[in-house]
């Protein structure tokens, strides 16, 4: 096959993405070496790596990195497990599969912002239905947003409520596309249901599972709306993720230089993670060829 003219098809995407993504990146890179602030965006004093150094010394940066990683790890792993079992459940129903599928993917069609606003109401310690329920049913004063780890967990729960549906949808789609023969063969061999899942089904949907994981990793890494609405990064800095910290640096402090340095670091982290994921899994996904 001729390999030389493939670029032709890719050019429109590259130009478009170059304009909306590469250009901003170059801009950020430039700003990150200057002392840019609200009264001096473009002509800030050149400070070399000063902004990067001050970030690495900044304990709040490391805090937010830790919070982000914890948030991503917790929410993605819970979602993957729940989503997988939900897909198995719906897939094993004889009738109304599609109806249940639609009902289960509704959460991902609602704006994250709305989830934020609703859970803000649900969590409120005075009039929020969740603490009220615990108070009247078990006489427990449920305090959700007052302790750092608990608040982070509360944010993870919001994420799980919304995005398990995404994992479910794609796992379910993958299950539908699987060939039936291996299962029938295993069934004839007398393997139990869970054995079939473990030894036949899991290896088959592994590539799809990897893609879902990549998507979820990416999106939970970016989470902003719900956290911003519910806690605004608090209590203290317990739910200040990298996104929120960048946001505060940029639009509360107007320290554009440091914020840009942080965005460059985030991009580097992203590229490293992507690279790892890519090396490890992309070949696997594309092994179909």
């Amino acid at each position: 096959m001729r390999n030389d003219r493939g670029w032709r098809f890719v050019i429109p995407s590259v130009i478009l993405l170059g304009f909306v993504a590469l250009f901003p990146f170059i801009f950020s890179l430039y700003i990150s070496f200057t002392e840019s602030t609200a009264y001096n965006i473009y002509h800030g004093k050149f400070v070399g790596l000063g902004n990067y150094i001050s970030l690495f010394k900044d304990i709040k940066f490391w805090d937010s990195l830790r919070v982000t990683l914890l948030y991503v790890a917790l929410s993605v792993s819970i979602e993957m497990i729940l989503g997988f079992f939900l897909a198995l459940l719906v897939d094993s129903l004889d009738r109304y599969q599609r109806l249940f599928m639609i009902l289960l993917i509704i959460p991902m069609m609602i704006a994250p912002l709305v989830y934020g606003i609703i859970f803000k109401l649900l969590y409120n310690s005075i009039y929020g239905p969740i603490p009220l329920f615990f108070r009247s049913a078990f006489n427990i004063e449920l305090q959700i947003l007052n302790k750092p780890f608990r608040a982070l967990l509360a944010m993870v729960i919001v994420d799980v409520f919304q995005w398990t549906s995404f994992v479910f949808l794609i796992t379910y789609s993958a299950l539908q596309a699987l060939p039936k023969e291996p299962f029938e063969a295993a069934m004839i061999d007398g393997a139990t249901y869970w054995k079939r899942v473990r030894y036949v089904l899991l290896p088959l949907i592994r590539p799809a599972f990897v893609v879902i994981m990549i998507f979820r990793l990416m999106d939970s890494f970016k989470t902003f709306d719900q956290i911003f609405v519910i806690t605004g990064g608090g209590p203290g800095t317990a739910t200040t993720t990298l996104s929120l910290y960048t946001y505060f640096l940029m639009f509360t402090r107007y320290n554009f230089g440091k914020a840009a340095a942080l965005t460059v670091i985030i991009l580097m982290v992203v590229i490293v993670i992507t690279n790892l994921v890519f090396k490890r899994f992309f070949r696997e996904v594309s092994a179909v060829e």
Partner: protein
């Protein structure tokens, strides 16, 4: 398919052209009481004054979430519209240094452009829009905190922070099972513009000042102030999720009748006295000055003051028209009164003591003396937003009981000092 998209795109570009007979000045403000007041002003202007002055005004209401980010981004990006923007006095120094807002000093002292009484302002209001002697905005509202309390439960509002603590304890279920309310007190807790401003009041009433030879946020009064807050939070006199508390949450807590007192912006008053919006408490809300501290000379209080203000976009096509309108809207007797009757608080002494306004909004009789005697402004530095956010972060950590007050303030002060030194304020 790509062609179709291009055609659609260009179509939309063409649609964005509008026409009108009189030139139209745009006023950008955030949804809420202020926008409601401005809307009434604009309606009045377009009906009665537009022909005389030769221009109309159009109001654009924006989402309250993140409002100032948008305003400052717009100014920084050098956009031509909107012509007038509602902003906040915390940015005055920044605007002054950067030229992001138009310097209106000369027009303000020109009698043909500003034919109103210049001595009628609350002094603090004009101080807040001035940076190095130049004026960058005109104040529409001067707001301060007041102590909101339940008149039916508390006959005499607490005068000092210690009294406030005692009364709050009395109305907390945990300590007093007969208490009709769950918690005694509510105040700001979410990292926001308002959190340091709330805390400054305790800090200043304990005798704090902004600077010694260094920033003074680790001084004795600061420690006392933060320890008071932490004590109240640790003992559970405030709702446990206090770290998420902002304007709306405090309002909600008062509206449900489960909190006996709150330190809240005075702008919440009309809502709390509205029977439909606050059916449980509308007839039980009293207001008092923010508590203070006893000194040999009597009680010392501090009232954080900030302005909502109208700035003029320096890239606007209609700068002079914009000035004529904001002068009318903020300082003219009819403009300011329309605004006051809508529930806002223009910093004009004549309006705040107008019997008709006072009858509708009795809080002004508390607020006017409070601001007049105890009002103070935040430090006027162009780099204040960043400095405030540093302090804010540490205060929020102390609020969350993550670190103890001493460490929080020491670290905050050190970081602020280093930051200011890097900006050349200290050698």
């Amino acid at each position: 398919m790509r062609k179709l998209v291009l055609i659609l795109l260009s179509l939309f570009l063409v649609v964005i052209i509008c026409a009108g007979n009189l030139p139209e000045v745009t006023l950008f403000c955030r949804a809420g009481p202020e926008a409601y007041g401005h809307r009434l002003q604009v309606e009045y202007w377009n009906k009665h004054l537009a022909q005389k002055y030769g221009f109309k005004v159009r109001i654009i209401e924006a989402t309250r979430a993140d409002y100032y980010t948008y305003v400052n981004n717009t100014l920084m990006a050098g956009a031509k519209t909107p012509d007038i923007l509602e902003s906040f006095s915390g940015f005055t120094a920044l605007y002054g240094k950067s030229g992001l807002a138009l310097d209106i000093t000369d027009w303000y002292y020109d009698d043909s452009l500003f034919p109103y009484d210049r001595n009628d302002w609350l002094p603090i209001a004009m101080k807040l829009v001035t940076y190095k002697g130049r004026i960058y905005a005109l104040p529409t509202d001067t707001n301060t905190y007041l102590l909101f309390y339940r008149k039916d439960l508390i006959p005499e509002p607490p005068k000092t922070w210690e009294e406030l603590y005692e009364v709050a304890k009395k109305f907390t279920k945990k300590y007093n099972p007969n208490s009709p309310t769950m918690y005694g007190l509510a105040f700001y807790g979410r990292k926001s513009e308002s959190l340091p401003m709330f805390w400054y009041q305790i800090f200043r009433s304990y005798g704090g000042t902004w600077w010694y030879d260094r920033p003074a946020f680790d001084s004795e009064p600061a420690m006392k102030a933060l320890k008071w807050v932490v004590k109240v939070i640790r003992e559970g006199l405030v709702p446990p999720d206090i770290s998420t508390y902002e304007y709306m949450e405090i309002l909600g807590a008062l509206q449900t009748g489960q909190v006996a007192m709150a330190v809240q912006w005075d702008a919440a008053y009309p809502t709390l006295r509205d029977k439909k919006a606050s059916p449980l408490v509308w007839d039980k809300m009293g207001v008092a000055m923010v508590p203070g501290v006893w000194t040999p000379e009597g009680i010392r209080r501090a009232h954080s003051a900030h302005d909502q203000m109208l700035v003029i976009n320096p890239n606007s096509k209609y700068k002079k028209e914009a000035f004529i309108f904001i002068a009318w809207a903020t300082a003219s007797p009819e403009g300011a009164k329309i605004y006051a009757m809508a529930g806002c608080s223009p910093p004009r002494k004549s309006i705040l003591s107008d019997p008709e306004v006072l009858k509708k909004f009795p809080r002004f009789s508390v607020k006017l003396p409070g601001l007049d005697k105890w009002g103070y402004a935040e430090p006027a530095l162009p780099d204040y937003p960043e400095m405030k956010d540093i302090l804010n972060t540490y205060l929020a950590k102390a609020w969350a009981l993550e670190i103890d007050p001493e460490t929080a303030l020491k670290k905050a002060n050190q970081e602020i000092y280093e930051f200011l030194r890097s900006k050349g304020y200290y050698k």
